[in-house]
Symmetry: C2
Subunit: 426 residues, 2 copies
Amino acid sequence: MSILIKNVILTDDHGFGNRSVNVLVENKIIKKITEECITADEIIDGRGDLLIPGFYNTHCHAAMTALRGYADDLPLDRWLFEKIFPAEDKLTERIVACASELAVAEMIRGGVVSFSDMYFFMDETARAAINSGIKLNLSRGYTSDANTTPENDFRFNETLDLLSKFNGAEDGRIIVDMCIHGEYTNAEAPMRRIGEYAKEHGLGIQIHVSETQNEHEQCIARHGMTPIAYFESLGVLDASVCAAHCVKVTDGDIAIMAKHGVSASHNPVSNLKLGSGIMPVRKLIDGGVNVALGTDGASSNNRLDLLREMQLAALLHKGAQEDPTVTNAREMLKIATENGAMAQGRSDCGRLEVGYRADLVLISVDELNNIPLYDKYSMLAYSARSSDVRMNMVDGRVLYLDGEFKTLDVEKIKYESKRTLKDFFI
Amino acid sequence: MSILIKNVILTDDHGFGNRSVNVLVENKIIKKITEECITADEIIDGRGDLLIPGFYNTHCHAAMTALRGYADDLPLDRWLFEKIFPAEDKLTERIVACASELAVAEMIRGGVVSFSDMYFFMDETARAAINSGIKLNLSRGYTSDANTTPENDFRFNETLDLLSKFNGAEDGRIIVDMCIHGEYTNAEAPMRRIGEYAKEHGLGIQIHVSETQNEHEQCIARHGMTPIAYFESLGVLDASVCAAHCVKVTDGDIAIMAKHGVSASHNPVSNLKLGSGIMPVRKLIDGGVNVALGTDGASSNNRLDLLREMQLAALLHKGAQEDPTVTNAREMLKIATENGAMAQGRSDCGRLEVGYRADLVLISVDELNNIPLYDKYSMLAYSARSSDVRMNMVDGRVLYLDGEFKTLDVEKIKYESKRTLKDFFI
């Protein structure tokens, strides 16, 4: 089965300028990018719009969509202890299933082709991803104390169960990662064991790292080291790690991250909304760290909109450092796409190149906010809206096109979400 | 002619909770807000969506939409002197007309009911506003040097001409303000004269104030005073002033602004994108200053999307001050609506209350990103998208409803903009 996405424009690194090109997709893969007239089994008319690699959301808790808008504008400790933790205690498989479906639909609508998720009842989130066609790196949220022995711990065993059921499923679309929720929610021995297990089995690890000043300082008080240095000392960074937030990382941390190939998931909306601060993104990039983007959960965002995340990243560091050259639009697109795929261990994804997986997004240039079009990178980083996404394709399969979800019954998802989620926690 | 907007929900300050209400509009005015069944000449079905006051954009250069994406990621001086000023030298009435129409259409689509504008060829921007139905506070950008005598200066005379033609036009929908572009682009005597003239005739003044550290410090070096203190010393603040940016204002400036009733137009996207910095918004509000929101021009934004501006303001200060309680969602809605109307001198606008002008916006709650709906203020400040705007009504006239522009031929505007604006400056 072949699909031709005809009459599109590409970003300038492709060398076509604003000339119309045709992109042929076959068996999940980008087969040809050409100005020639070719044909295929199915044809999608690009109508002169901009085709780019899809967005990779490298840090999310999809099920927390159930708590969107439930507890905003509170101090972090009241938010967590009075609202979020008590609500999470009431979560059921049914709520997680429903909220995951809602989250996946929102992400597909906004051009997200793949997301990393850390939570519980992860079978439900896996099913939502499998049914929808989106890519997923799932991890069972892992916390422990000094008495925990991983092999006898239900959280660890759930991870083993998820690995056997889902890792590599759907021709690699679903990947199972290990998880260390954070340094402050785990004991030393279990973290060492998870690092070893991940390294032995070639698995990734999702971790929250240095999200807040408190977390960062308490780790130093406990261990005489920053969280990154502590994780290095435990051997955890010998596995393939994606570290979410990294707001408070030091220059020394950045050197350690680069040395071990740790990816940093930048979550600017969540970090602002919770009052955590601003990641030193320029230092991380210049230090050789693979920086990607994430939305975090909808309770601290409140959208799952990676384009918005990219646009905030494009603006924020210029303003915070009072220097408009700190970041640039082209670099931001790379962070949102190629670097995200790399953070998820998907080396054949994230680029619009022959031989790569066809994870593609079509953005309408015919919107009031995108006219005139001088610079396609600027359009993406500063003016496009997630509602300008016309098409979302994952592994060569169209998930969304011109208002229509191809794999999901979105009216049913909205109806079920309204009926099931609202007022559940109150 | 009466219009009933039936079956809507309102924000919680109205006391209806989530119950369905009907809003009756007659002769431009909100006549009745009731749970009772009533009827009218025309009925708009709210379908349970959220009706709010429209957004007031208190700082814009609409014609700079022509330069959207034309010069991004550059240092401020190169941006201005190599790109923006040379391009502006080539601007024609036709370009300003076309770019203003494009800007107005984008603003209407995003729920902006009124905008303040500072530029030149302002007849064209006035016409775009008059034809579209949006409200406008226009001002002719005013710069001067030591040799300028306002009464013999074409810029001043253009302002007098605009006053006679447009001030109070369309039953008050169009207001003409005076302008002082900035302290750094004007000489003392003309600024004094503009202050006097505005005061004598009860006119507002639009000014750029303390946008950058350079501007702020150079004023101190020149006059031994901050820009705000200097404007006070010239008598300028005795008129009704809307000061754009105020990024670098001091505690002393804030006290002066509060004393004189100066409004501050917060432009967070532009201030970040140009590397200007972050306005001390909490200090301004706590100091008694009327803080409103603005987009600035599309060349430093690159959208004219006040909801995005409100959402960035809602997030930014929490993160910059590392305190999630610095601002709250409800306060942000007031800044985007009521405070904006006040900054424009429109005391009968900006609130959804009986007797106020019917400047109303309907936001769809049935979007993936707005489900579940726990808190309507949170929805507006954190999760809604400008594409969720279903209706934009100004002075009781529907300008946009469910995909249809009622006063503009948007396909023609897009076609003309693409033909006229692109490549003009290169």
